[in-house]
Amino acid sequence: MSADARMTAQSAHAARWLMLWLGLLWAIGGHAAGFEVLSASTRLEGGVYRLNARIEYRFSNAALDALQNGVPLTVDIEMEVRRRRSWLWDETVYALTQRFQLEYHTLSRQYLVGNLNSGERRGFPTQTAALGFMGRIQDFPLLDRSLLTENERYEGALRVLLDIESLPAPLRLLAYLSDDWRLASEWRVWPL
């Protein structure tokens, strides 16, 4: 084997390692646990603001492990309507929380999503389907327009977070301390 060939083999080896590390980094970075509000907007229909939003839930492995072991996970979708003010911080004029509970039903091998506000519960054969259902908010009646003052600027805000307090008590302390459990999205803000 010539020196050049050896060099080429070495550089190829190095390139493979680099690719591997980069791939690992991408995997960690891309699949890092966390929630994200992909889109959120409102539409005025019949004097009522209706909310449409898409949310991506990326549960951590620890959370998914707990889910598989019969621990229900509760997700809070917090919605706010804020009045913009020039000199002061924005005033929250309306706030609402939609709570979804995700649990795994071992017997039927189904993922159950319950809306804790309405009591409605639906089963999904796959986790993706269940998360897809939870992550799609369609024409949700947010607020009656008559409740807002004319000539004021308002904005809607939405975020989603895992409710640690709903976890079993033994898990809670760990959940407060671990990044795996502190799952929350940024506030997503849009003009109303």
Binding site: H105, L107, R122, G132, A169
Partner: protein
């Protein structure tokens, strides 16, 4: 907050501290309940955890503060701090050891206890039960799928209306609760349901639709609402025209099966959750236990501090009290004597002791004050005495003296207190004669009395000394007390009075026969001179002349005596001495050569209150006396000076006459002012006696001095007339003009 901590640290805030402990205990009990009964207390867990952490933190701060204060006191060596620290340490160790043991064992049992909840057989059994349930349900589901397939075949070739009818028929025949036919895009073609309230049928989830469209039929068990299941089956059919349709059938699971499956599912889930939560559960129990341990330890610490402080406080107060007593403060009474224990008894005894000490001290102080006041009283009396008082100790050292003693002796005796004879003599040689004269008396006991003539700084003095040996009793320790008076003036006054009496008698007894003698002599001379011859006549003439002359001389002498004995009748008037001296001495300006008179007058005017006539006589006498002395002694100059002097606390005018004659012999110096004391061959010897009398009549005093460079000096001091003052300043020197006047 800081004040509260301080208050609690001092043990005063026992109630807040106990309340804190109680609250923490309640919180920990609740936490224990939360750990075991998750359903009921689980929600409070986080809050309780936070609260207990804060409470324990507060307790820890309290204890740390206590410890810091104690260590600071220990470093400052405050009494009691060392003992408190030691006691607190002992208590803490005593309390911690069993608690730590229990903690260790509890932890061990806890781990083992939780592990023992789980059992492989139970695990497998539950899994098997779940599998059994699934198998049972699977059978049913397969049956449902078959049935659904049959329905699908039945409705496959019917149109929409027929389909609805057929579905109804199949629903009546079968056990299904709902049959729905979906067209393309999820459009509901026909539906049949046993539930009349249901208007819109429950569509299958998208994932199911996808699966079915791909050609795989779906059957699944779905939980409904709170409890129970239904089986959903979705199959694909096609119309004769080839239009794709989906048939969904919902079949309820029988109640019994449903209940059993639910129970199995519930048990399995709980068990699985428990297994999953095993580690966190252990952590939680351990945490709770540790918090309880921490509470116990901190409470033990606090109790240790508190108890130690309570125990040491009376001891510390006793120590402080003892120090105060050592420092001489007897007023301090210790609190907390009410306790019935031995410490309380100790405190009571201490208080009684300090009370007694305080009383004793007050009594001693009163006694001392009494002694001091008596001493001050005695000193005041002694100071006011005109007699000199001295006390000597057994070794002859001077112990006390009064002001009069110093004044009479002309020596500052106070500086000699504590000095023995040798040192006194060394310091004041003038006192040597006096000490030698008194010395023999000091060796004897009992009272003595002695008149001592002593040559002091102010001339010859006659002192009347009375002495007494002091008893050798407590506080006196023997020694002598000597009381003496300067009786020089008294003696002189007595002598002067005697001379005055002699002079008056002489004048009276001698002057009466003198005139007849003179007349008789003149008559003899007149009658017999003519009858005698020259020789006899001359003898007679000389004889009678002698008689007459001598009688005349005797008359003059008697007059002089008379004058000396005459009581003073002064006519005092303000007088300027310098002018007066100048005026009188003007007469001597042409005095026979051989004597030069020099005036040394003061620049300032010197006013005195004097009788001009008597003062002139005084001056004449002095000048005459001096000139005669100069002539006899071959001197040449006479100085007459005036000036201001300050003698024995009073301002005086001094008139001095000094010559360079032979001076006074020592023998005469002491008695120069007595009548018939003279150095001159001629003269009555009354000159200086009269001078002294005049001086004393004016409230002054006279002094004879022999200056070291020869000659004689007579100094006369008369009271200075103060500006505007009618009466002369009284000199401190003793005067006895009145006695003489009598």
């Amino acid at each position: 907050m800081a004040a509260l901590i301080r208050q609690m640290a001092r043990g005063q805030g026992r109630l807040p501290a106990l309340t804190l402990l109680g609250l923490l205990l309640i919180i920990l009990v609740l936490m224990g309940r939360a750990a075991t009964d998750l359903a009921r207390f689980g929600q409070m867990y986080s809050g309780l955890l936070l609260l207990s952490a804060v409470g324990l933190g507060a307790l820890a701060v309290l204890i740390l503060y206590n410890l810091a204060v104690l260590i600071r006191l220990y470093r400052r060596r405050v009494p009691g701090a060392r003992l408190t620290l030691r006691l607190a340490g002992v208590f803490a160790v005593l309390a911690i050891t069993p608690v730590a043991l229990v903690y260790g064992f509890s932890l061990h049992f806890l781990q083992r206890g939780i592990d023992s909840w789980f059992n492989v057989q139970v695990d497998r059994g539950l899994g098997d039960a779940l599998e059994l349930s699934r198998t049972a349900l699977d059978l049913r589901m397969r049956e449902v799928l078959k049935q659904t397939g049959r329905v699908a075949e039945a409705v496959a070739d019917s149109d929409d209306e027929q389909a609805a009818r057929r579905l109804d028929e199949w629903l009546d025949l079968g056990e299904g609760s709902e049959l729905t036919l979906f067209g393309l895009g999820g459009r509901i073609i026909a539906t049949a349901t046993t539930d009349p309230t249901l208007i819109v049928p429950d569509p299958p989830p998208e994932a199911v639709l996808l699966q079915v469209r791909q050609g795989r039929d779906y059957v699944g068990l779905e939980p409904i609402g709170g409890a129970g299941f239904h089986i959903r089956a979705v199959v694909r059919t096609a119309t004769p025209s080839g239009e794709e349709r989906l048939l969904q059938a919902l079949f309820p699971v029988t109640d019994r099966l449903s209940l059993l499956a639910d129970a199995v599912q519930g048990a399995f889930d709980s068990y699985k959750e428990l297994i999953f939560l095993r580690a966190p559960l252990k952590t939680m129990f351990t945490l709770t236990l540790s918090l309880v341990l921490l509470l116990a330890v901190l409470a033990a610490f606090w109790a240790a501090f508190h108890t130690a402080r309570q125990l040491v406080r009376p001891l510390r107060e006793l120590a402080e009290g003892t120090q105060a007593v050592a420092a001489g403060q007897f007023d301090q009474q210790l609190p907390g004597g009410g306790g019935g224990d031995e410490l309380g008894f100790l405190v009571q005894s201490f208080n009684e002791m300090t009370r007694n000490l305080a009383q004793a001290r007050d009594a001693a102080r009163r006694g001392q004050e009494l002694v001091e006041s008596q001493r001050a009283y005695l000193e005041t009396v002694l100071a006011r005495l005109s007699s000199g008082v001295l006390t000597l100790d057994q070794a002859g050292r001077l112990q006390t003296c009064n002001a009069a003693a110093s004044q009479i002796l002309g020596v500052d005796l106070r500086s000699l207190i504590g000095a023995d004879r040798q040192r006194i003599v060394a310091a004041q040689p003038v006192l040597q004669d006096l000490i030698e004269a008194v010395g023999p008396q000091l060796n004897a006991t009992g009272d003595w009395r002695q008149e001592i003539a002593w040559f002091g700084g102010a001339g010859r003095r006659i002192l009347l000394c009375r002495g007494s040996s002091l008893p050798d009793t407590v506080g006196l320790r023997g020694g002598h007390v000597i009381v003496f008076d300067d009786i020089t003036h008294l003696v002189r006054a007595e002598r002067d009075a005697a001379w005055g009496e002699v002079a008056r008698r002489l004048a009276h007894e001698i002057k009466n026969p003198l005139t007849p003698i003179q007349l008789a002599a003149e008559r003899i001379r007149h009658k017999y001179l003519k009858q005698f011859d020259d020789e006899q006549g001359r003898v007679l003439e000389r004889g009678t002349h002698t008689i007459i002359q001598q009688v005349q001389a005797m008359k003059e002498m008697v007059d002089a005596f008379n004058e000396y004995a005459r009581p003073p009748r002064l006519q005092l008037a303000p007088l300027e001495l310098n002018e007066f001296v100048t005026e009188v001495l003007y007469l001597y300006r042409d005095y026979p050569a051989g004597v030069e008179i020099k005036l040394e007058l003061a620049q300032e005017p010197l006013s005195i209150n004097a009788d001009k006539v008597r003062l002139r006589q005084l001056l004449h006498n002095l000048v005459k006396n001096a000139i005669e002395a100069i002539r006899d002694g071959h001197g040449s100059t006479l100085w007459i000076g005036t000036g201001r002097a300050h003698v024995v606390g009073a301002d005086c005018v001094e008139l001095s006459v000094r010559d360079d004659g032979p001076g006074f012999p020592d023998a005469i110096l002491a008695n120069a002012f007595e009548p018939y004391v003279t150095t001159k061959p001629k003269g009555t010897g009354l000159g200086l006696a009269i001078v002294k009398k005049i001086v004393e009549e004016h409230g002054g005093w006279i002094q004879l001095e022999s200056p070291p460079n020869g000659g004689a000096r007579i100094a006369i001091r008369l009271p200075l007339l103060r500006d505007g003052a009618g009466s002369p300043a009284v000199p401190a020197a003793p005067l006895h003009t009145e006695k003489e006047a009598g």
